[in-house]
C-alpha cells in the first residue's frame, strides 16, 4: 500500500500472456459477429429481440459485483486481513455461481424453444459466444476456489499475495469481455 512503489503487472507474468491471448480470441469473435451482422441486419435485429435482456442485465451486474468483490479481496490481503480476503473471495465465487445459474436458465429456455446453433447465423453467434464465455466463467471460478483454499490455509499475507492477484486478473478479464458482449449481442440494434 505504499504510495511510491515500483510499477509492475499484478500477479504472475504468465497469466498476462494468457489474458492477452484470450482478449485476442474474443476480439476476433466480436469482430466476426459485427461483420456478419452487417450482411444480415434484419435477421440479427429480429432474433436479438427474442433474447432475455433482463437476464443479460442481471448477469452483467452479477459479474461486475463479483469483480468488485475480487478487487476487495486483493486489497484485504495486502492489508494483512486474511479472513476478510477469504470472505470476499467466497462472495465472488457465489456471484459466479449466480451467473452460471442465470445463463443455464437462458440456455435451457432457448433449448426448449427449439433453438440450436443451426437455427440461424445470429443464434450460432449467440450460443457459441455465450457458451465460450460460460466456460471461461467456470475456469475463473475454479481458479478463485483454489486461491480461496490457499488463502484459508494462510498461504497469502500482506507481503506475499501474487497468487491472489493472478487469479483476480483472470477474473477481471472474464468481466471485461462480458462488458462488451452484453451490449453487442443483447442490446445494440
Amino acid at each position: 500500500m505504499n504510495s511510491i512503489s515500483e510499477k509492475k503487472l499484478p500477479g504472475d507474468f504468465a497469466i498476462w500472456i494468457f489474458i492477452y491471448a484470450e482478449l485476442l480470441v474474443f476480439g476476433v469473435f466480436f469482430a466476426s459477429y459485427a461483420v456478419t451482422r452487417s450482411n444480415h441486419i434484419e435477421l440479427f435485429n429480429q432474433s436479438q429481440l427474442l433474447l432475455d435482456r433482463t437476464a443479460g442485465m442481471i448477469n452483467t451486474v452479477v459479474l461486475i459485483t463479483s469483480s468488485w468483490f475480487v478487487v476487495n479481496a486483493v486489497h484485504a490481503i495486502k492489508a494483512g486481513k486474511q479472513n476478510l480476503s477469504v470472505r470476499w473471495l467466497a462472495g465472488s465465487i457465489g456471484m459466479g455461481g449466480i451467473f452460471l445459474g442465470v445463463k443455464m436458465f437462458e440456455f435451457i429456455t432457448k433449448h426448449n424453444e427449439g433453438i440450436t446453433l443451426s437455427t440461424n447465423k445470429f443464434y450460432m453467434f449467440y450460443l457459441s459466444l455465450t457458451f465460450f464465455h460460460f466456460m471461461h466463467v467456470i475456469l475463473g471460478m475454479v481458479i478463485l476456489a483454489v486461491i480461496l483454499v490457499m488463502a484459508r490455509r494462510g498461504k497469502y499475507s500482506a507481503t506475499e499475495y501474487t497468487g491472489i492477484e493472478t487469479g483476480a486478473s483472470y477474473w477481471h478479464m472474464v468481466d471485461l469481455v462480458w462488458i462488451i458482449l452484453f451490449p453487442l449481442v443483447y442490446l445494440i440494434q
Partner: protein, 107 residues
Amino acid sequence: MPNSTTNSQTLNKQTVDSQQTDLDYRNSTRKTFVIWVGLVSLTLLGYWIGMEGMSGNLALGILLGAALIKGQFVITYFMEMVNAPLKWAIIPTVWLLLVLAIIALMY
C-alpha cells in the same frame, strides 16, 4: 530503561502502521465501491436503452460509450493497470478501443 523505551517506540510504530493499513484498506474499498456504483449505473442505462428499443447513431454512441467507460474502469481500477508499466497497461485499452471501433464501423 533504554531497552523499554525502544520497545515502547517499536510498539507505537507498529500501532501507527496498523492504523494506517486499516485506513488505506477502508479508503480503497470506498473507492472501488464508487467505481462499482458507476459500473452498475452505466449497465442500467444500457439496459434501459435496450428495453426502450432505441436504435440509431445516438443509441449506438451511448451503448458503445458506456462499454468504453466501463471497460476502462475495469482495466484501470479492477485489473489495477494504473500500477502497471505503460507498455503492458496499454494493451487492454488498445484492445477495447479497437473492438469498439470495429463494432461502430460495422453498425
